[in-house]
Structures are given as structure tokens and as C-alpha cells.
Amino acid sequence: MNDFNSTQMGRLQKAPEFFLSREAMTLSRDDRRSFLRRAFVAASGVAAAAAGGRALASEGDPAILKLPTHSTGLGAPVAAKGYGTPSKYEENLQRRESPGLTRVSAASVSFAPLQGFFGIITPSGLHFERHHQGFWDIDPRQHRFMINGLVKTPKVFTMDDLMRMPCVSRMHFIECGANTGMEWGNVAVPTVQYTHGMLSCCEFTGVPLKWLLDDCGIDLKKAKYVLAEGADGSGMTRTINLANALDDVMVAYGMNGEMLRPENGYPLRLVVPGVQGVSWVKYLRRIEVGDMPYAAKDENLHYVDLLPDGALRTYTSIQEVKSVITTPSGGQVLLDKGFYAITGIAWSGRGKIRRVEISTDGGKNWKDARLETPVLDKCLTRFNFNWTWNGSDAILQSRATDSTGHIQPTMTALRAARGTRSTYHNNSIQSWLVSANGEVSNVQLA
């Protein structure tokens, strides 16, 4: 495995970047297969011997010099996979549970591997999951959607009906209210997958709820709230404000160009932009129009935020302005000193991202990151920031500002207002410590 001439895929040297010591990092730098690096080492005359006769004697990279099988053979035919899957080399990026967080996997959560994502769209198969009573693959021909309550005509719609109607497609983030919830008291988990992975962003296609409510003749004089209800065992219910319901809430069947995945509510779910994921009721079977909040379990008993004085904030819904750096991030190792593209995502349940700033010195100084397009309402925005790591300790942070002027707070500021037992709605600035050995770890500042 350690042979430079090996044609094995992947890193050929002893993977010294996984060592933690400074010596190991030095070895990594000296042993790097970079011609530039070798040239630097040779010129500096320090470790020419360490760079090794083998490398200098080589005529070049065997990945170039020895034609691989894929250059000299016949590949797989079309439709070998009727539904394509990622390369086997991408297998490390999986949805994962956080050990010990829950006791049973059918009432649990799996976190999306944010550390591996590009841009803003979450691949459907890596969308985070939250099931309260397991998930189902429901026959869409048997699925029905009902609207009742304060409407002129309570109605039933089949999927045929809904999919025949005029529709819209919009990109929105969905974040569980408990995202980053394990970190209220102290650092609890190692990587961005577990700190922020109850977050995804997709293009959803469906019928605006307003159109359907209008179609049933909603009584706008009396109506103040709607209740959304799921068809699965949990019969998930959440109250939605009428202001949201008449604005951008959508009864959605499409996700990223195909139907919703079963894990995400196939064949129908509510999309409530800007509001925490539990309100995006899956397997949506019913909307009831009413004149008071419904005090469902997951807005009145769970998904409530405990304050220091013992009061519970109920009906907490809006996901506030937040951002996180996904690379470099906790549990990663920087391979070397030099250039890195600090990259990450920002979002706000109140509107668009207006600005993201980066600090590489633990919040002393801040500089603007580059926002990549598109920058959309209640949607993830990708940011990038060019950085040269000089090899010494650095604390990386990102701070987002949204279109309402709300600025992402520090953990200290959030705790000062809400204590440490809120569980939900932790939108604090995340700190990643880059240590001199290249290891990146999750830290909180005092």
C-alpha cells in the first residue's frame, strides 16, 4: 500500500494526515505527491533525502503513465442501472443517527452529511429524516387529501386532482427545530453532520395552499389558523398561522424533479417555508381551517423551548438566521498549510440572506464572504471565502445577516437570553478550531 508505483486507488502513502502530531504533519508535507511541494522541499534543501530517491527517480505519476483499465477496456452499458446511484467511492457520505440521542430508530432522526455537499440542493437520498412513528411507502392511488373546517365546501382531493392543478416549483430549506439542539449546554458532537445535519434544501413542486383554500371557499372573516394532519401512525398535527398559510405554504408532491421520497412524506407533504420541519407534515391527509391554535402535542408539549424561569415557549416555529462553515469543519483534517476555500451555507426563515461574514480568529475580526447565486427566500445560500492557512491555530466562524436585518448571535448571547435548556432554535455562530496539526474540532468560546 505504501508503494508509490502501486495502481491502487486513493492515497498511497501512509496517510500521515491522520496523525495528530506536528511530526506527522511535517512528514505529510514532505511526502506529498505534489510536484510543487517536492520542488519546494528540494529547493529548500531541508528534506531532500526524505522526499526520497524513489519519487525523484520516477518518470512521473503512474496514474498517468500506466493506462488504467477504464482507458483500455469496455465500460458498462446504458440502463445497467435503471435508477442511477452514486459512485461506490462516495459511500462514506450517508445519513447517520447520532448514537445515544434516541432509543428506537422508528422514533428518531438521521442527519444529512453536510460536510460533503456542494451548492445548495440536498440530494434526495441524503435528505435528513425525522420519523415519529416510522415511515411508509404509501400507494398514491389510495391517498386522499381533505380540507374541512371554516370553509364553504369541505372537499376531498385525490393525487390525480392535485397533480392536475396549476402548480409552482420553489426551492426552500427545511430545518428541524432541534437542529444544533445538542449543543445548548456544551459541545456534544464532533462534526457538522451532527451539529447541523437536520437541515436540507430541495426544490419542491406542488399547489399553493392558498389556491386550495380559495377553491373550498375559506371563511376569511373567521379563519385564523389551519391545522395540518398526517395520515401515518403518528397522525402528526401542527397549527400553521393563517398568514403563512395564505402566503407561501405549499401542498407538495414533487422534490428535486421527482416525487417525494417515502422518507419525506410520499406522496404528499406540507411545505411551510421558513418554519421548522415538524410543521411540514408528511403523508398529509387533512387541513382544517379554524379560529384558534390547536395545542397539538408537537407544539404544546414537545418542540417547546424551556426558559430559565421555567416557562415554556409554545408554538415556536420560525427558524431564525443561521449559517455554518461546512469545510473546514469538525472531524476534518487539513492536508497541508496554504490555500483553502472556506465554504458553507446560510439561511433564514424570515427571508433572504443578505450577508455572510467570516472570522478566522475566533470573532475578533470579520470579513465578507462571497454569496453564490441563487440567493432565494427561505432557502440555503452557499458562501465561499478564500483563506490561506499559515499552519497555526485558527478559530473559524461564519455570521449571517438576513434581509430583515437580523444578525446571527453568538452562543453566549443566546444563552444569556434563553439559558441552556431551550433544546430548540439554536441559531448561534458555530466555531471550528483548526489546530496546528491540521485537525479541525468543534469548540465553543467562553
Binding site: R103, S105, L306, E320
Partner: protein
């Protein structure tokens, strides 16, 4: 935004100009719901008890239902933290008077180790509605109205809110509501509910020399380094960074960072997870049903063990391991049942 009707008018107008014959109107999409349909689905109960069906149920019946269907997850006294968070405990008679659970105040002398359902509960409708729609966890919406009243009464009794001989009904539920220990313990005065609400915590605008010194207040302890598995296996093999090898052994660095072989043989554990077997059966620990290890031991040596286990999985049943029934698994493909049965028989979990 166009209304649905407007959209359709435009659409229809466009089609008509093409001389198409269009009979459809917007109101033809969907149909009126029948009263029976609405009754079947409109099961929610509001805080003003609108939607609550008439009826009653006793603490005594509640205890019977509890011991048969609830206790395995929630514990005899609703105190269990094994599967879900505890239901009863942490409330006092004084709380019932004040309507605020004192044990939830930060630093309270009587602070409970964990917040229980009854400590947080501010509306009795929430409890009734949830039991009715979602319990028992593995067989929801199967309790009768009387049983829902009874289990609700039993839960209240576990919290010393109603006496042992109490019968909860639609007639007295409003009175019981007035005694809930945390009925005054909630607030909607926060910025996270109504669109346009003001946030309660605003970040700092400062861009230069904002803090004098940075001190790390919290980081992961060394013993937790590998608690989430080897992080090297959770990162891409290429790019600017690698995942940190937290498995320890340096020699494994290279192999740990290569993908696992892709095999066409199904992994029985994955099948068991996929078909939700593991929701009720732990590998070594008892959850709702017996552990896989227990099942393996019980059937070890049985003639034609794989077929026997496969038949049991497919048909479900009760009585072998206790009163909690296992639902039939007829929807699981036979090949998967066979693979899981063979795996159970082999016992190599």
C-alpha cells in the same frame, strides 16, 4: 398571486381559442367531502375541547389498558426512560394550586432530573388527542373512546392529579383542566410564531477588534473522540480535507478510508431495520418485543427453524413472549423474511 379560479379561467380561455372543447371547471377538481368522511378523519381535539367525543373512562380501566399496551415502553408508573421520555413525576400539590411547575425553574431545589410529560402539560386536550391519534406507538388509533379517557385518567392518576377511583369524562374534563400543574406555564411572547415578530436575540455588527481574547469554553472530551464512529469513514476520499481517523490504530489509516466492498447479498440487519423489525426488537435488549438474541436462543435446536421463524414473522402473533401482539408482516417480501429468519436462526448478529 392568482387565485385558482383566475388561473383556470386564463387556461380555459387559452384552450377555447384553440377550438378545444373544455367542459372542466375548477370546481370539478376534487369533490365535496361527505359527512361520514369528515367524521372519520376530523379527530382532533382543541384546547376548548371542541372535537372531544362524549364518553368516560376510569382510572381502573386505564390501569388495565396501561399494563397491557403502554407499560412496556413507559414503565409501570410512567417513569421509564428506556424507550421514551418519562410521563409522570416531578409535579406537586402546590404546583396544582399555582398552575406552574416549580421544578422546572432553573436551579430549583426540587428540579427533576428530566422533564416529564405531566411537568410540561398545559392542556388536557393535548394529552387526550395524542393518546387517541398516536398510541399505542406500534398500533395507533386502535383504542376505544372509553379506553382513551381511561388511559388519560390513569396518566393523571400517576401524577397524583386525580384519585384512584376517578372516572374522567367529557362532563368533568374542564374541571380537571383547572388543576393541571403546569396550566399557566407556557408563553407565546416570543419572536418565533407570528410572521414579522421581532427576534429576541440580535447578533453583533462589529467587524474589527471585536473581542480582546478568545478562550475555548467547551470542546469534545478525548473519550468521546470515536463516539460517533470513525470520522474518516464519514468523509469523502478526495478533496481539500479528509475525515479524521478516530479509530485509533495508525496502521488502519489507509484501509479505513477506502469504501466497503459492494456485495449483492442483502445485509440481514439492514433488512431488519428497513422493515422496522428493529423498532421493537433490539439485538441484545428487550424493547417492545424480545431481543433478537433471546429469539435466537429460544428457537435454537428447533426442527426446520428457518421456516418456523419465517412463518412466525409473516403471521405475527401474541402470547409467546407476553401480551403485546406482534402485527403480521405480510407486506414484507418472502425473500427478505427468509433472509431475516435465517439470520435469526444463525444468531450471528
Amino acid at each position: 398571486m392568482f387565485s385558482l379560479r383566475n388561473c383556470f379561467s386564463v387556461f380555459i380561455a387559452a384552450l377555447t381559442t384553440c377550438a378545444a372543447v373544455v367542459n372542466a371547471t375548477p370546481s370539478s377538481l376534487g369533490r365535496p367531502a361527505t359527512p361520514a368522511e369528515i367524521k372519520a378523519w376530523d379527530i382532533d381535539v382543541r384546547p376548548d375541547f371542541k372535537g372531544l367525543p362524549a364518553g368516560s373512562g376510569s382510572v381502573k380501566l386505564g390501569q388495565e389498558v396501561w399494563e397491557a399496551k403502554c407499560e412496556s415502553c413507559h414503565g409501570v408508573f410512567g417513569e421509564s426512560n428506556e424507550v421514551f421520555t418519562p410521563i409522570a413525576g416531578g409535579t406537586t400539590k402546590a404546583d396544582m394550586t399555582s398552575g406552574r411547575v416549580s421544578g422546572m425553574v432553573l436551579g430549583a431545589k426540587n428540579a427533576a432530573a428530566q422533564r416529564t410529560t405531566l411537568m410540561k402539560l398545559s392542556e388536557l386536550s393535548t394529552l387526550w388527542d395524542y393518546i387517541n391519534r398516536a398510541m399505542p406507538w406500534n398500533n395507533p388509533k386502535t383504542l376505544t373512546t372509553e379506553e382513551v379517557y381511561a388511559v388519560t385518567a390513569y396518566v393523571l392518576h400517576l401524577g397524583d392529579i386525580v384519585p384512584a377511583d376517578f372516572v374522567l369524562s367529557d362532563k368533568n374534563i374542564r374541571e380537571v383542566q383547572k388543576t393541571l400543574p403546569n396550566r399557566n406555564g407556557k408563553t407565546r411572547q416570543h419572536g418565533l410564531w407570528n410572521v414579522g415578530d421581532k427576534p429576541d436575540v440580535q447578533g453583533d455588527k462589529c467587524v474589527a477588534n471585536c473581542v480582546k481574547a478568545t478562550t475555548i469554553g467547551s470542546s469534545l472530551p478525548d473519550y468521546a473522540r470515536n463516539a460517533h464512529g470513525n470520522l474518516a469513514d464519514q468523509h469523502r476520499l478526495i478533496g481539500a480535507v479528509r475525515g479524521l481517523n478516530t479509530a485509533g490504530a495508525v496502521a488502519s489509516n489507509v484501509t479505513a478510508n477506502t469504501p466497503k466492498s459492494t456485495s449483492s447479498t442483502p445485509d440481514p440487519l439492514k433488512l431488519a431495520q428497513q422493515h422496522a423489525c428493529t423498532a421493537c426488537h433490539g439485538v441484545a435488549n428487550k424493547l417492545l418485543g424480545p431481543s433478537l438474541t433471546e429469539i435466537h436462543k429460544k428457537y435454537a435446536g428447533t426442527v426446520d427453524v428457518v421456516s418456523v421463524l419465517a412463518a412466525k414473522i409473516k403471521a405475527g402473533g401474541s402470547g409467546v413472549w407476553g401480551a403485546i401482539p406482534m402485527p403480521a408482516q405480510a407486506h414484507v417480501p418472502d425473500a427478505d423474511i427468509q433472509a431475516i429468519a435465517a439470520w435469526l436462526a444463525a444468531g450471528k448478529f
